[in-house]
Symmetry: C2
Subunit: 149 residues, 2 copies
Amino acid sequence: MRLDETDHRLLAALADDARLPNNALAAKVGIAPSTCLTRVRHLREKGVIRGFHADVDPALAGRPLQAIIAVRMQGHARSRLTAFLHQLAELPGVLNVFLLGGAHDFFVHVAAPDSDGLNDFVVENLSVNPDVALTETNLIFRHVRASWY
Amino acid sequence: MRLDETDHRLLAALADDARLPNNALAAKVGIAPSTCLTRVRHLREKGVIRGFHADVDPALAGRPLQAIIAVRMQGHARSRLTAFLHQLAELPGVLNVFLLGGAHDFFVHVAAPDSDGLNDFVVENLSVNPDVALTETNLIFRHVRASWY
DNA sequence: TATGAAACAGCATAAGT
DNA sequence: ACTTATGCTGTTTCATA
Protein backbone atom coordinates (compact mmCIF):
# COMPACT_ATOMS: atom_id res chain seq x y z
CA MET A 1 0.00 0.00 0.00
CA ARG A 2 1.21 3.39 -0.95
CA LEU A 3 0.47 6.56 1.03
CA ASP A 4 0.51 9.90 -0.70
CA GLU A 5 1.06 13.31 0.82
CA THR A 6 -2.64 13.73 1.57
CA ASP A 7 -2.75 10.47 3.50
CA HIS A 8 0.16 11.56 5.63
CA ARG A 9 -1.55 14.81 6.44
CA LEU A 10 -4.71 12.95 7.39
CA LEU A 11 -2.71 10.67 9.67
CA ALA A 12 -0.94 13.59 11.28
CA ALA A 13 -4.19 15.44 11.89
CA LEU A 14 -5.95 12.42 13.39
CA ALA A 15 -2.96 11.43 15.48
CA ASP A 16 -3.11 14.93 16.93
CA ASP A 17 -6.89 14.93 17.44
CA ALA A 18 -8.78 11.72 16.86
CA ARG A 19 -12.11 13.48 17.34
CA LEU A 20 -11.63 16.06 14.61
CA PRO A 21 -14.93 16.08 12.69
CA ASN A 22 -14.79 14.94 9.10
CA ASN A 23 -15.71 18.38 7.80
CA ALA A 24 -12.93 20.12 9.69
CA LEU A 25 -10.48 17.40 8.76
CA ALA A 26 -11.32 17.76 5.07
CA ALA A 27 -10.87 21.52 5.23
CA LYS A 28 -7.58 21.20 7.09
CA VAL A 29 -6.18 18.83 4.48
CA GLY A 30 -7.75 20.56 1.50
CA ILE A 31 -10.06 17.88 0.10
CA ALA A 32 -13.84 17.39 -0.09
CA PRO A 33 -15.60 15.90 2.96
CA SER A 34 -16.81 12.87 1.03
CA THR A 35 -13.32 12.17 -0.29
CA CYS A 36 -11.96 12.61 3.16
CA LEU A 37 -14.41 10.10 4.56
CA THR A 38 -13.49 7.39 2.08
CA ARG A 39 -9.77 7.97 2.54
CA VAL A 40 -9.96 7.68 6.29
CA ARG A 41 -12.07 4.56 5.97
CA HIS A 42 -9.44 3.01 3.73
CA LEU A 43 -6.71 3.90 6.18
CA ARG A 44 -8.64 2.14 8.91
CA GLU A 45 -9.45 -0.91 6.82
CA LYS A 46 -5.85 -1.30 5.73
CA GLY A 47 -4.74 -1.11 9.34
CA VAL A 48 -2.66 2.04 8.94
CA ILE A 49 -4.95 3.51 11.59
CA ARG A 50 -5.21 0.83 14.27
CA GLY A 51 -7.75 2.65 16.39
CA PHE A 52 -8.68 5.79 18.25
CA HIS A 53 -7.84 6.08 21.91
CA ALA A 54 -8.30 8.54 24.73
CA ASP A 55 -5.00 9.43 26.35
CA VAL A 56 -5.61 9.03 30.09
CA ASP A 57 -3.14 10.49 32.58
CA PRO A 58 -2.25 7.55 34.82
CA ALA A 59 -1.23 9.88 37.64
CA LEU A 60 -4.67 11.48 37.80
CA ALA A 61 -6.35 8.11 37.45
CA GLY A 62 -4.84 6.75 40.62
CA ARG A 63 -1.49 5.43 39.36
CA PRO A 64 1.11 8.18 39.88
CA LEU A 65 4.15 5.91 39.83
CA GLN A 66 5.38 4.75 36.42
CA ALA A 67 8.25 2.46 35.59
CA ILE A 68 9.84 0.55 32.77
CA ILE A 69 10.85 -2.90 33.93
CA ALA A 70 13.54 -4.62 31.91
CA VAL A 71 13.08 -8.39 31.96
CA ARG A 72 15.44 -11.15 30.96
CA MET A 73 14.07 -14.66 30.57
CA GLN A 74 15.77 -17.99 31.11
CA GLY A 75 17.33 -19.38 27.96
CA HIS A 76 14.98 -22.33 27.75
CA ALA A 77 11.88 -20.12 27.83
CA ARG A 78 12.36 -18.59 24.38
CA SER A 79 9.39 -20.46 22.94
CA ARG A 80 7.04 -18.92 25.49
CA LEU A 81 8.05 -15.31 24.84
CA THR A 82 5.04 -14.38 22.71
CA ALA A 83 2.55 -15.95 25.09
CA PHE A 84 4.13 -14.15 28.02
CA LEU A 85 4.05 -10.89 26.06
CA HIS A 86 0.27 -10.97 25.76
CA GLN A 87 -0.16 -12.26 29.27
CA LEU A 88 1.72 -9.23 30.59
CA ALA A 89 -0.37 -6.86 28.49
CA GLU A 90 -3.53 -8.02 30.26
CA LEU A 91 -2.33 -7.15 33.74
CA PRO A 92 -3.82 -4.09 35.44
CA GLY A 93 -1.57 -1.04 35.20
CA VAL A 94 0.41 -2.28 32.22
CA LEU A 95 0.63 0.38 29.51
CA ASN A 96 3.01 -1.14 26.97
CA VAL A 97 5.03 -4.28 26.50
CA PHE A 98 8.01 -4.45 24.15
CA LEU A 99 9.60 -7.65 22.93
CA LEU A 100 13.23 -6.87 22.27
CA GLY A 101 16.36 -8.20 20.68
CA GLY A 102 19.50 -7.57 22.67
CA ALA A 103 20.51 -7.73 26.30
CA HIS A 104 16.92 -7.81 27.57
CA ASP A 105 13.89 -9.70 26.35
CA PHE A 106 11.13 -7.36 27.49
CA PHE A 107 10.49 -3.84 28.53
CA VAL A 108 7.28 -3.58 30.52
CA HIS A 109 5.87 -0.07 30.86
CA VAL A 110 3.67 -0.02 33.93
CA ALA A 111 1.80 2.45 36.13
CA ALA A 112 1.27 1.67 39.81
CA PRO A 113 -0.67 3.37 42.62
CA ASP A 114 2.41 3.61 44.84
CA SER A 115 5.76 2.10 45.64
CA ASP A 116 4.23 -0.97 47.27
CA GLY A 117 1.98 -1.54 44.30
CA LEU A 118 4.94 -1.43 41.96
CA ASN A 119 6.88 -3.83 44.10
CA ASP A 120 3.93 -6.18 44.26
CA PHE A 121 3.62 -6.08 40.48
CA VAL A 122 7.23 -7.10 39.99
CA VAL A 123 7.15 -9.82 42.61
CA GLU A 124 3.78 -11.34 41.82
CA ASN A 125 3.90 -11.19 38.03
CA LEU A 126 7.58 -11.41 37.20
CA SER A 127 9.90 -12.64 39.92
CA VAL A 128 7.55 -15.45 40.82
CA ASN A 129 7.72 -16.80 37.28
CA PRO A 130 10.47 -19.43 36.98
CA ASP A 131 11.01 -18.42 33.33
CA VAL A 132 12.10 -14.95 34.46
CA ALA A 133 15.83 -14.73 35.01
CA LEU A 134 16.08 -11.16 36.24
CA THR A 135 14.27 -7.84 36.35
CA GLU A 136 15.53 -4.28 36.45
CA THR A 137 13.09 -1.56 37.45
CA ASN A 138 13.62 1.93 36.02
CA LEU A 139 11.45 4.63 37.57
CA ILE A 140 9.97 7.14 35.13
CA PHE A 141 10.23 10.78 36.22
CA ARG A 142 8.74 12.24 33.07
CA HIS A 143 7.09 10.79 30.01
CA VAL A 144 6.57 12.78 26.81
CA ARG A 145 4.35 11.29 24.15
CA ALA A 146 5.94 12.61 20.97
CA SER A 147 3.89 14.26 18.30
CA TRP A 148 5.05 12.05 15.47
CA TYR A 149 2.87 11.80 13.90
CA MET B 1 -9.97 15.05 42.53
CA ARG B 2 -11.81 11.87 43.21
CA LEU B 3 -12.98 9.48 40.50
CA ASP B 4 -15.91 7.20 41.13
CA GLU B 5 -16.72 3.90 39.50
CA THR B 6 -18.61 5.61 36.66
CA ASP B 7 -15.64 7.82 35.81
CA HIS B 8 -13.40 4.81 35.57
CA ARG B 9 -15.82 3.10 33.23
CA LEU B 10 -15.96 6.23 31.09
CA LEU B 11 -12.18 6.33 30.93
CA ALA B 12 -11.97 2.67 30.04
CA ALA B 13 -14.54 3.03 27.28
CA LEU B 14 -12.88 6.11 25.75
CA ALA B 15 -9.41 4.64 26.05
CA ASP B 16 -10.72 1.72 24.04
CA ASP B 17 -12.57 3.84 21.49
CA ALA B 18 -12.06 7.58 21.55
CA ARG B 19 -14.71 8.11 18.88
CA LEU B 20 -17.52 6.43 20.74
CA PRO B 21 -20.47 8.85 20.41
CA ASN B 22 -21.77 10.39 23.58
CA ASN B 23 -25.07 8.53 23.27
CA ALA B 24 -23.48 5.13 22.95
CA LEU B 25 -21.02 5.95 25.70
CA ALA B 26 -23.83 6.92 28.06
CA ALA B 27 -25.70 3.71 27.31
CA LYS B 28 -22.59 1.61 27.79
CA VAL B 29 -21.88 3.12 31.18
CA GLY B 30 -25.50 3.30 32.25
CA ILE B 31 -26.05 7.05 32.63
CA ALA B 32 -28.01 9.69 30.75
CA PRO B 33 -26.38 11.34 27.70
CA SER B 34 -26.42 14.79 29.25
CA THR B 35 -24.81 13.53 32.44
CA CYS B 36 -22.28 11.68 30.36
CA LEU B 37 -21.45 14.83 28.42
CA THR B 38 -20.73 16.89 31.51
CA ARG B 39 -18.70 14.14 33.14
CA VAL B 40 -16.49 13.67 30.09
CA ARG B 41 -16.05 17.42 29.83
CA HIS B 42 -14.92 17.56 33.45
CA LEU B 43 -12.49 14.72 32.88
CA ARG B 44 -10.97 16.65 30.02
CA GLU B 45 -10.85 19.95 31.88
CA LYS B 46 -9.20 18.34 34.88
CA GLY B 47 -6.60 16.77 32.62
CA VAL B 48 -7.50 13.18 33.44
CA ILE B 49 -8.13 12.83 29.72
CA ARG B 50 -5.15 14.48 28.05
CA GLY B 51 -6.42 14.11 24.50
CA PHE B 52 -7.75 11.82 21.82
CA HIS B 53 -5.32 10.30 19.35
CA ALA B 54 -5.39 8.03 16.33
CA ASP B 55 -3.10 5.05 16.78
CA VAL B 56 -1.07 4.90 13.57
CA ASP B 57 0.89 1.75 12.74
CA PRO B 58 4.45 3.02 12.12
CA ALA B 59 5.28 -0.02 10.00
CA LEU B 60 2.47 0.72 7.54
CA ALA B 61 3.31 4.41 7.56
CA GLY B 62 6.81 3.87 6.24
CA ARG B 63 8.74 3.22 9.45
CA PRO B 64 8.91 -0.54 9.99
CA LEU B 65 11.93 -0.53 12.28
CA GLN B 66 11.35 0.39 15.92
CA ALA B 67 13.84 0.67 18.73
CA ILE B 68 14.21 1.86 22.29
CA ILE B 69 17.46 3.73 22.70
CA ALA B 70 18.83 3.94 26.22
CA VAL B 71 20.79 7.16 26.72
CA ARG B 72 23.16 8.16 29.49
CA MET B 73 24.18 11.79 29.76
CA GLN B 74 27.41 13.31 31.05
CA GLY B 75 27.28 14.17 34.73
CA HIS B 76 27.56 17.90 34.16
CA ALA B 77 24.56 17.95 31.81
CA ARG B 78 21.92 17.21 34.45
CA SER B 79 20.50 20.71 34.27
CA ARG B 80 19.75 20.34 30.58
CA LEU B 81 17.84 17.06 30.89
CA THR B 82 14.36 18.55 30.61
CA ALA B 83 15.24 20.70 27.64
CA PHE B 84 16.78 17.74 25.88
CA LEU B 85 13.71 15.66 26.66
CA HIS B 86 11.45 17.98 24.71
CA GLN B 87 13.99 18.49 21.99
CA LEU B 88 14.05 14.74 21.38
CA ALA B 89 10.27 14.55 21.31
CA GLU B 90 10.19 16.92 18.34
CA LEU B 91 12.38 14.78 16.11
CA PRO B 92 10.74 12.88 13.24
CA GLY B 93 10.10 9.25 14.07
CA VAL B 94 10.21 9.70 17.85
CA LEU B 95 7.19 8.08 19.53
CA ASN B 96 7.96 8.43 23.23
CA VAL B 97 10.66 9.81 25.46
CA PHE B 98 11.09 8.71 29.06
CA LEU B 99 13.15 10.56 31.64
CA LEU B 100 14.39 7.98 34.11
CA GLY B 101 16.01 7.52 37.46
CA GLY B 102 18.59 4.79 37.55
CA ALA B 103 21.35 3.53 35.35
CA HIS B 104 20.10 5.41 32.29
CA ASP B 105 18.76 8.93 31.89
CA PHE B 106 16.48 8.45 28.88
CA PHE B 107 14.68 5.84 26.95
CA VAL B 108 13.87 7.08 23.45
CA HIS B 109 11.22 5.09 21.61
CA VAL B 110 11.72 5.66 17.91
CA ALA B 111 10.50 4.34 14.55
CA ALA B 112 12.78 4.45 11.52
CA PRO B 113 12.32 3.63 7.82
CA ASP B 114 15.20 1.18 7.84
CA SER B 115 18.46 0.23 9.47
CA ASP B 116 20.33 3.16 7.95
CA GLY B 117 17.66 5.57 9.10
CA LEU B 118 17.93 4.26 12.65
CA ASN B 119 21.68 4.55 12.62
CA ASP B 120 21.45 8.08 11.27
CA PHE B 121 19.04 9.00 14.04
CA VAL B 122 21.40 7.81 16.75
CA VAL B 123 24.46 9.41 15.24
CA GLU B 124 22.98 12.74 14.22
CA ASN B 125 20.74 13.36 17.22
CA LEU B 126 22.49 11.59 20.07
CA SER B 127 26.09 10.61 19.57
CA VAL B 128 26.93 13.99 18.09
CA ASN B 129 25.76 15.73 21.26
CA PRO B 130 28.67 16.25 23.67
CA ASP B 131 26.27 15.94 26.63
CA VAL B 132 25.53 12.35 25.62
CA ALA B 133 27.84 9.87 27.32
CA LEU B 134 26.62 6.66 25.70
CA THR B 135 23.72 5.10 23.85
CA GLU B 136 22.41 1.54 23.75
CA THR B 137 20.01 0.61 20.96
CA ASN B 138 17.44 -2.12 21.63
CA LEU B 139 15.53 -3.31 18.59
CA ILE B 140 11.82 -3.88 19.08
CA PHE B 141 10.46 -7.11 17.58
CA ARG B 142 6.94 -6.70 18.86
CA HIS B 143 5.07 -3.96 20.62
CA VAL B 144 1.77 -4.50 22.40
CA ARG B 145 -0.16 -1.47 23.53
CA ALA B 146 -1.88 -2.74 26.66
CA SER B 147 -5.57 -2.29 27.21
CA TRP B 148 -5.29 -0.55 30.57
CA TYR B 149 -7.39 1.02 30.72
C1' DT C 1 -10.97 8.69 -8.53
C1' DA C 2 -12.40 13.13 -6.67
C1' DT C 3 -16.08 16.27 -6.32
C1' DG C 4 -20.52 18.67 -5.19
C1' DA C 5 -25.35 18.70 -3.79
C1' DA C 6 -29.13 17.12 -1.30
C1' DA C 7 -31.56 13.93 1.82
C1' DC C 8 -31.13 11.63 5.88
C1' DA C 9 -29.86 10.35 10.28
C1' DG C 10 -27.97 11.24 14.59
C1' DC C 11 -25.85 14.09 17.96
C1' DA C 12 -25.02 18.01 21.22
C1' DT C 13 -27.20 21.25 23.79
C1' DA C 14 -30.29 23.26 26.92
C1' DA C 15 -34.55 23.52 28.84
C1' DG C 16 -37.64 21.76 32.50
C1' DT C 17 -39.00 17.93 36.01
C1' DA D 1 -29.34 13.40 37.65
C1' DC D 2 -32.77 12.21 34.14
C1' DT D 3 -36.10 13.17 30.16
C1' DT D 4 -37.61 15.52 26.43
C1' DA D 5 -37.42 18.59 22.58
C1' DT D 6 -35.02 21.42 19.29
C1' DG D 7 -31.60 23.00 16.16
C1' DC D 8 -27.83 21.75 13.92
C1' DT D 9 -23.98 19.18 11.97
C1' DG D 10 -21.99 15.11 10.26
C1' DT D 11 -22.66 11.46 7.26
C1' DT D 12 -24.13 9.14 3.41
C1' DT D 13 -25.61 8.43 -1.27
C1' DC D 14 -25.83 9.54 -5.91
C1' DA D 15 -24.87 11.91 -10.10
C1' DT D 16 -21.21 14.27 -12.47
C1' DA D 17 -16.83 15.24 -14.40
